[in-house]
Amino acid sequence: MIFVTVGAQMPFDRMVKAVDEWAAARKRADVFAQIGPADYVPRHVKWTRFLEPDDFLARYREASVIVAHAGTGSILQALELGKPILVMPRRAALRETRNDHQVATAERFQSLGRVPVAWDATDLAQALDRIDGLSSEKTLGPYASTQLITRLRRFLDE
């Protein structure tokens, strides 16, 4: 199952539509999308607007691969569970978010070699064609870096 998520706050019709059209063209029946308060309703893939945290986690666990907006929550969750993830950043100019922080997030995670990025809908369709070969090379432990934990403990013990 490919799990698609746009997060809880805003719609991301550009990404959902691209996935929906790709699924139709490739006759993929194994796509489930969480679309948020969206105007565009998928015609080919199964979807829901919101998922409670427990249901969301269940979908993540069940998925073989995640397609998400470039939200840090979605990315970290995938890395923690060792799920391959493909992200597409929202753009402020298209009113998909208030600023371009997702573009910066996507660039950073891409350069760390952690997360492949689709920069637009065309790019996304091409990346989706390769999605079954996507693997998660590294997983993330459940906790922050030892360095950060140690710094916080030192402050708390002062």
Binding site: E52, P53, D54, G71, T72, L76, L79, H101, A104, T105, E107, R108, L140, P142, Y143, A144, S145, T146, Q147, L148, I149, R151, L152, R153, F155, L156
Partner: protein, 131 residues
């Protein structure tokens, strides 16, 4: 949640914006405050009042926040009530500090950024990321 090992041996109260997170901290204390954006003036007052209510009720020694407006209120109000304060700027802010993060400095006893590039003298310190 990724910072939990830092709190071992300390009594922790979690403050969040949704009741649905209760299942993430079974057996631990969770308080819920309303979420708010900087464009919602009435919401800002309500949110700040609820955060103040939690601080007065719980009397924490230390307030730690990883970002967003309710956390910003927690740091500013916590500082004024004599708590020690820690701000860990969100990992989402990779090129510049968040609006809350840029303004919170004077109120944070420990002010951390998760990106080395954002470390500044007199500004936030980099001490590793939540990654």
């Amino acid at each position: 949640m990724r910072l939990r090992p830092a709190f071992e041996g300390h009594q922790v109260v979690y403050v969040t914006v949704s009741e649905t997170y209760r299942s993430h901290v079974p057996g631990e204390k969770l308080r819920v405050v309303p979420d708010v954006t900087r464009w919602d003036r009435v919401g800002l007052v309500k949110c700040a009042a609820r955060v103040l209510g939690v601080l007065v009720a719980e009397r924490p020694d230390v307030v730690i926040s990883t970002g967003a407006l309710p956390g910003f209120f927690g740091i500013v109000l916590g500082k004024s009530l004599g708590c020690r304060t820690i701000w860990v700027d969100s990992i989402a802010n990779v090129e510049e500090l968040s609006m809350s993060g840029a303004k919170v400095g004077p109120f944070a006893d420990l002010w951390l950024t998760q990106w080395r590039e954002l470390e500044r003298a007199g500004g936030p310190e980099y001490a590793g990321a939540i990654l």
